[in-house]
């Protein structure tokens, strides 16, 4: 196995699972739609809440997607093979996350204009929302993948991952919604974006090592 | 003593319910903590005793 053959296989598996990726997207859309229907559908309610709703749905969708990142690899023994391959595990993990991010987030970003419209998000906030998603979502993946790796050997892991990881997502959600609110109020929001970027970088540095520890421990078990 | 009588102490002005329920809950929780700690200790000891006995008898 080499790094490039690994990356190639990752993309291949994701491509085989394109239905799953599509499902993540649909799930995201349905959660977003749940709110106008379940809670309140008036523009006065939705417009200020729009960014928050979209971010909450994104977070749930990302977690659902990440939960299974290592599951299948673990089940068929190919995770074990990664660990014993002699390649650098943290680097393999970064590659895996990059593949995941591309495949999950790009479709989400593409649907944004539509959903923003449906939730009456004012156009002043739209670009801020896209910006926060671009800059903030990598940290979601990097943090979340730790949970995915920790719970890989557990059967009903989805719930546990959410439990472990959601508290860590709170700052990302808060900064993002604050940025959009600032943008809607006409205030500068680059400070928040910088915060999000800092969090993404911090998690990029820490997460692969933590995940590698978790993966190794999971394979041992 | 900041209170004149026992009933005044129990009433705590108008806030008796709040103060005593807060303290009641806290005491219960701390007591549970102590109890669970001690009972785990006892259980651990018992299981280990049993295990060692088994390995001696073998």
């Amino acid at each position: 196995m080499t790094y490039s053959s690994f990356l190639k296989a990752e993309f291949l598996v994701l491509w085989r699972r394109k239905q799953d990726v599509f499902n993540a997207l649909l799930f995201f859309i349905i959660v977003v739609v749940l709110f106008p229907i379940g809670v309140n559908s008036s523009p006065e309610f939705l417009a200020p809440a729009a960014a928050g709703i979209i971010w909450c749905a994104t977070v749930l969708a990302v977690l659902m997607a990440l939960e299974s990142t290592f599951k299948e690899d673990h089940r068929d023994g190919s995770l074990e093979q990664l660990v014993v391959s002699g390649l650098s595990l943290p680097l393999l993990i970064v590659l895996k996350i990059i593949a995941q991010w591309l495949v999950v987030m790009l479709p989400l970003l593409i649907t944004m204009p539509l959903l923003a419209e449906m939730l009456y998000l004012p156009s002043s906030g739209f670009w801020a929302l896209i910006g926060t998603l671009l800059v903030g979502s990598p940290s979601l993946f990097f943090i979340g993948v730790i949970g995915g790796a920790l719970t890989v050997s557990i059967k009903q892991g989805a719930m546990l991952v959410m439990l472990l990881i959601l508290p860590f997502y709170l700052p990302v959600i808060i900064f993002s919604t604050l940025a959009v609110k600032a943008a809607q109020a006409g205030l500068p929001y680059s400070g928040f974006l910088a915060m999000l970027l800092a969090m993404s970088l911090l998690s990029l540095v820490i997460s692969p090592f933590m995940t590698a520890i978790a993966v190794k421990a999971s394979v041992n078990a | 003593m900041a209170f004149d009588s026992l009933s005044a102490f129990l009433m705590m002005g108008t806030h008796g319910v709040y103060v005593w329920s807060a303290y009641g809950f806290s005491t219960l929780a701390l007591a549970w903590l102590v109890w669970s700690t001690l009972s785990t200790r006892r259980k651990t000891q018992d299981t280990l005793r049993k295990r060692f006995k088994r390995s001696v008898s073998r």
Binding site: - | A2, M12, F25, L33, F52
Partner: protein, 248 residues
């Protein structure tokens, strides 16, 4: 710098015999201080001129809230120590600490909520401090859930350590972000912005109960660690001797 103590700490056998000598005295001292602090605070301290007698909740609320944070800090440090030096005692410490910390956070939440009703007129507001204690509680529950769900000991060790470390990095970030949230959109009006200038007969009992609770928790954690050490080290001969001859 003499590192001998560090290596000693890492040895379960040494730690066990050390803690055996210290756990009970520390625990009893803690209980004593706690009782003194609480009785003093409840019965003898003067009533607050603003809040009346409801302020007496402070003597349990503040120590417990401080402990909830300190416990997490200690767990996070233990996690780092485990991941860097593989010290055997760290996961034992984390496992013993997590439920204690969770209970502390829970008491802080409940006593705070009860205190909020007479002073703020509501049980709960989404204020910075309250929210971050809630998140802290959830983090504790996450670690406990993880330890209970994973039945492989090695994996559970690593998992709990990883989570504590990540939490250690993230907790200040959470705290900071929640503060921002509150300051930006006009938080609830009833927050205690400033510590009142307390007279000594008010803060002395508080000091007692804080110190008392720290020692109380230390004693408990030592005991919990002892059980865990015995379970994990059951193969070594000293445990056999300890259990069959001395008893706990």
């Amino acid at each position: 710098m003499n590192w001998a103590w560090f290596h000693k700490l890492g040895s379960p056998k040494w730690f066990y015999s050390w803690s055996k000598a210290w756990a009970l005295p520390v625990f009893c001292f803690g209980c004593l201080c706690l009782v003194i602090g609480l009785v003093w605070g409840l019965a003898f301290a003067p009533a607050d001129y603003q809040q009346g007698n409801s302020f007496r909740i402070i003597y349990i609320h503040v120590p417990v809230a401080m402990l909830a944070q300190s416990c997490y800090l200690a767990m996070g440090i233990a996690g780092v120590v485990f991941l860097v030096w593989q010290m055997k005692m760290s996961p034992i410490f984390i496992k013993a600490m997590a439920p204690v910390g969770a209970i502390m956070a829970l008491i802080a939440l409940v006593s705070g909520a009860i205190w909020g009703k007479p002073t703020w007129g509501t049980w709960w507001v989404w204020d910075a401090r309250l929210t971050s204690v809630l998140v802290l509680f959830l983090l504790y529950m996450g670690i406990i859930a993880l330890q209970n769900t994973i039945d492989d000991v090695l994996l559970a060790n690593k998992a709990a350590a990883v989570l504590s470390v990540v939490g250690l990095i993230n907790l200040p970030i959470i705290k900071y972000s929640v503060v921002l949230l509150e300051t930006l959109h006009q938080g609830p009006t009833f927050t205690l912005t400033k510590k009142p200038e307390m007279p000594a007969e008010m803060w002395l009992p508080l000091l007692f109960s804080v110190i008392g609770l720290y020692c109380f928790v230390a004693g408990l954690v030592l005991w919990r660690m002892q059980s865990e050490i015995l379970l994990r080290e059951h193969r070594s001969s000293w445990v056999k001797q300890e259990v069959t001859e001395n008893g706990l």
